[in-house]
Symmetry: C2
Subunit: 163 residues, 2 copies
Amino acid sequence: METAWDERLRAAGLRVTRPRLSVLGVLAEHPHVDAETIATAARAVHPSISPQAVYGVLKALVGGGLARRIEPAGGPALYELRVGDNHHHLVCRECGLVADVDCVVGAAPCLAPSDAAGFAVDEAEVVFWGLCADCQHSGVVARRQHGYGTGSTSSSIRGGVRA
Amino acid sequence: METAWDERLRAAGLRVTRPRLSVLGVLAEHPHVDAETIATAARAVHPSISPQAVYGVLKALVGGGLARRIEPAGGPALYELRVGDNHHHLVCRECGLVADVDCVVGAAPCLAPSDAAGFAVDEAEVVFWGLCADCQHSGVVARRQHGYGTGSTSSSIRGGVRA
DNA sequence: CTGTTCTCTTGAGTAGGTCAAATCAACGCG
DNA sequence: CGCGTTGATTTGACCTACTCAAGAGAACAG
């Protein structure tokens, strides 16, 4: 899938650099990943990339509208390339797996709270919490809760299922 | 408002202690506060309370179903006493003010994503992002984004408007 | 009043970021 | 194609929000 990242970067007013292309490559392969995982995976392509560079790149991508940042409670921020289509997320309490869901009730009714209390709402963020198919069959009873894992310096790539 | 916190604590299988009553008192006055602010306010009532005690108390309260924890992206966790009624939140991007909103479309339609992708969903979390009435009139253009404030060791009490 | 058990205090440690200064590379210009 | 400007990356320090562990202290049943 030869995407023209060059053009998209330039269109956003950003320079085309190796670190940025590496990060975009990782994001294209793994729908929902945290910064650390991105750094690890990107290093396979561009070994000299530093963790802070990843943060910088991600901030630039989010700022330029090429990526979106989501922050599920109790875990690190995740990044995805799917932007501008108002979709939401399913998060597994047990393993952290994230899947996309299209907007619940059509276009953007989520943008209309029953009573906005004077707020000018510009975005509605919806997160569905539950157990993914695998974890349901593992007999586990939602241990994850919130709090950072049991010391496992996680770096597992959390693939996401497209809804 | 003389609430029988004693009974509610005991009903949840928790002991009745001074720190717990102090924290409950603060939460009753301020609908959506972070742990640090709770600690500061609680110290006015019970000076010897430690920050860690506050974390412990909050964990106990959440575990016992007396409080709820919400974690808006880009900021510290907030706690509230309103539990068990499936309501959602409006968050101001500028000042962080949080207001409650009742469930958008009646009972719990939020619990039915269009395609659950095999997940067993047990909760739907909805956050509406925008600008509160005050910040709209201040001519500011959403500077907050995410990231911890400009060094101000914040302790401002963020009151919440009941929707 | 006494003992058990839970809770709080104290202190140390951690993940997941942020910010600033200096080096380095992209790319428009001639 | 080389040059300079400007933006990107490296390097390194720092910070917030939170967790865990060990011991002292308080709550409550008997």
